[in-house]
């Protein structure tokens, strides 16, 4: 039950964040979508042993979180909690790839550890970028930008419907689970039979609701499209935003700044 509360809280909270007002929130959503994709593609395009070269990329989430006044702690917690898949698959690297890559003092560091850390860093960066996009843009605005990008209308319209009703249906699911929980003196897990009855009833209610929604929308002149009055424009600000970041990404991609910095320091120390 806690799980349910947490999930619906999460979507709601991200939605609230996206209503904030900052330079970043005011940017055209398309600019943010493009920049996010550029960022992710650049980060994953690195060699699998790349580690130090990935460090400068932290500048992107850090700057965006500051400018967008997002709660860094909350986002970090969210990133760490989710999706252990990459970390699980990656954990085999250190055991399989044992070739020593470099040494710190007397300890040899194997290629496997380096590539594993690289996976962890990639994971942090890409996940952070996606969460920041939604926290500064909001789901509806992302959908609108999809239409502008030429994604088929029916797909986007049902995506908008989906988002609108997620809140209502999770509430409904939550009420059902709570009711069962109270009537069974909080037995921890439900049996298969009860589960099927609950989910099927939720499905029946959902189908009825869809019918009601459809009729209500027909009364209001629904013709298969949702029209949104929102002004979207690519201005100089957006172009500058995209190009500044793109330039920085390319620079970091082809020029290993940390390595140069490290060499410089090592040279000074000598």
């Amino acid at each position: 039950m806690n799980n349910i509360n947490k999930n619906s809280f999460d979507i709601g909270y991200m939605d609230t964040l996206s209503t904030g007002d900052s330079f970043l929130h005011r940017l055209d959503p398309r600019a943010k979508v493009i920049t996010t994709l550029l960022f992710i593609v650049t980060v994953v395009s690195f060699d699998k042993y790349a580690l130090s070269a990935l460090m400068p990329f932290f500048i992107y989430p850090v700057v965006l979180i500051s400018i967008g006044r997002l709660p860094a702690g909350y986002l970090l917690k969210k990133i760490l909690v989710v999706s252990p898949f990459a970390l699980l698959v990656g954990i085999f690297n250190p055991f399989i790839d044992r070739e020593i890559l470099f040494q710190i003092g007397t300890r040899g560091i194997s290629g496997g550890w380096v590539s594993y850390l690289s996976i962890v860093v990639r994971f942090l960066l890409t996940v952070a970028a996606a969460l920041i996009l939604i926290a500064t843009t909001g789901f509806n605005a992302v959908c609108n930008s999809l239409i502008k990008f030429g994604v088929p209308k029916p797909f986007v319209v049902q995506l908008l419907f989906f988002y609108r009703y997620v809140f209502i249906l999770t509430d409904e699911a939550e009420r059902m689970v709570r009711a069962r929980s109270l009537r069974t003196f909080h037995t921890r897990m439900m049996s298969f039979k009860v589960f099927v009855a609950l989910v099927s009833n939720l499905l029946l209610r959902t189908l009825d609701r869809a019918e009601r929604i459809y009729r209500a929308m027909c009364c209001r002149g629904f013709d298969g499209q949702i029209r949104i009055i929102r002004y979207m424009e690519i201005r100089r600000k957006e172009v500058e935003f995209i190009f500044a970041w793109a330039f920085l990404f390319v620079f970091f991609r082809y020029f290993n700044m940390p390595l140069t910095l490290g060499k410089l320091i090592a040279g000074v120390l000598k």
């Binding site: 799980n3 979507i11 996010t36 994709l37 992710i40 994953v44 395009s45 060699d47 699998k48 042993y49 130090s52 460090m55 932290f58 979180i65 400018i67 969210k78 990133i79 999706s83 898949f85 698959v89 990656g90 085999f92 399989i96 890559l101 040494q103 290629g111 994971f123 890409t126 939604i134 789901f139 088929p152 029916p154 797909f155 049902q158 995506l159 908008l160 419907f161 989906f162 988002y163 009703y165 997620v166 209502i168 999770t170 699911a173 689970v177 439900m190 298969f192 099927v196 099927s200 029946l204 959902t206 189908l207 869809a210 019918e211 459809y214 298969g224 940390p258 390595l259 490290g262 060499k263």
Partner: protein, 308 residues
């Protein structure tokens, strides 16, 4: 199981995006052709239902783990393959954006693995073939079970292939397959049983819903030929892009091929040319310093903001 950005190379991610985008465009066109406005809100609300229902868990006896509704199969049964594919794609998009399940680059892979196989393979080729005309409880059970198992096996295998071609994980092909397939057999059985139980329940309570879904073959009818043709075209384009990338960027794909052919050592050496302790230590120091600078910039920006 969700594929993650951290394990995908841009080539694989891009190809799967292209394939998925093609399938979405095709499905959206099909749905539009039906010109049934009713369908679009229904799809959206059913997507929300899948999302909500995944929060209801039941305990699987004697294992200590829990199961829930997966989605692909039941959507295909209720909506037909094209609409179901679109809904599945939306569920995965929301999961990727809000819960960071997978990630944006891996989204193409995930939609393909969890959407294409149940909607365009398991449903038309297995579920429909088994059910044919007269519905019985046994047929629903058998069709859903077999469909879900096959869809998940294919999906899991496709995760393995995508990981291998990306070349980020070191896991050998055989081990990975042996890990993934049995786990997904279990998940498939649970998914199949749940789907069958829910469809049967709805069929008994409100037969008209399931019957209508069965009758509206128009909605569900997919020109398999067209899908296959489109798929072939996407594969051809992808192969072209892939080979172009492979020649200009030798680390990702060729590494995977080297690996598969057992010539690991060549690949390991080419991908890390500088096994020079000086360089590596410089990299380490520089990396840490860069991180510190980044944090300082962030703090500086924050302070400036709060001062304003």
């Amino acid at each position: 199981m969700h594929m993650a950005d951290a394990l995908v190379s841009p080539v694989v991610g891009g190809c799967m995006w292209a394939a998925t985008a093609g399938l979405i465009a095709y499905s959206a066109k099909k749905v539009k052709e039906e010109v049934d406005d009713r369908k679009v809100p229904l799809m959206g609300v059913l997507g929300a239902f899948i999302f909500a229902s995944q929060m209801i868990n039941f305990s699987i006896p004697a294992t200590g783990s829990s199961g829930h509704l997966g989605g692909g199969m039941i959507l295909a049964v209720l909506l037909g393959p094209c609409a179901a594919f679109l809904v599945m794609a939306s569920v995965l998009i929301v999961q990727a954006l809000f819960f960071a399940d997978g990630g944006l680059l891996a989204l193409g892979c995930n939609i393909f693995n969890l959407g294409f196989f149940p909607c365009f393979v398991a449903y038309p080729l297995i579920y429909r073939k088994i059910l044919k005309e007269h519905l019985t409880q046994g047929k629903i059970l058998f069709g859903s079970l077999l469909g879900a198992i096959i869809a998940l096996q294919l999906g899991a295998f496709s995760v393995v292939l995508e990981t291998m071609f990306s070349g980020i994980s070191e896991l050998p092909f055989r081990t990975f397959v042996l890990l993934m397939q049995p786990i997904h057999l279990a998940i498939g059985i649970v998914e199949g049983l749940v789907t069958a139980a829910v469809v049967t329940f709805v069929w008994k309570a409100r037969p008209e819903i399931v019957n209508a879904a069965e009758r509206s073959v128009v909605i569900g009818k997919v020109g398999m030929k067209k899908v296959l043709l489109g798929f072939l075209a996407a594969a051809a384009i992808a192969a072209g892009v892939l080979s172009w990338f492979a020649s200009s960027n030798p680390d990702g794909l060729e590494w995977a091929i080297f690996k598969a052919s057992g010539k690991e050592d060549i690949a390991a050496k080419t991908s890390w040319p500088a096994v020079d302790p000086g360089t590596s230590v410089s990299g380490l120091i520089g990396g840490i310093l860069t991180l510190l600078i980044v944090v300082l910039i962030g703090l500086g920006l924050k302070r400036r903001k709060s001062a304003v």
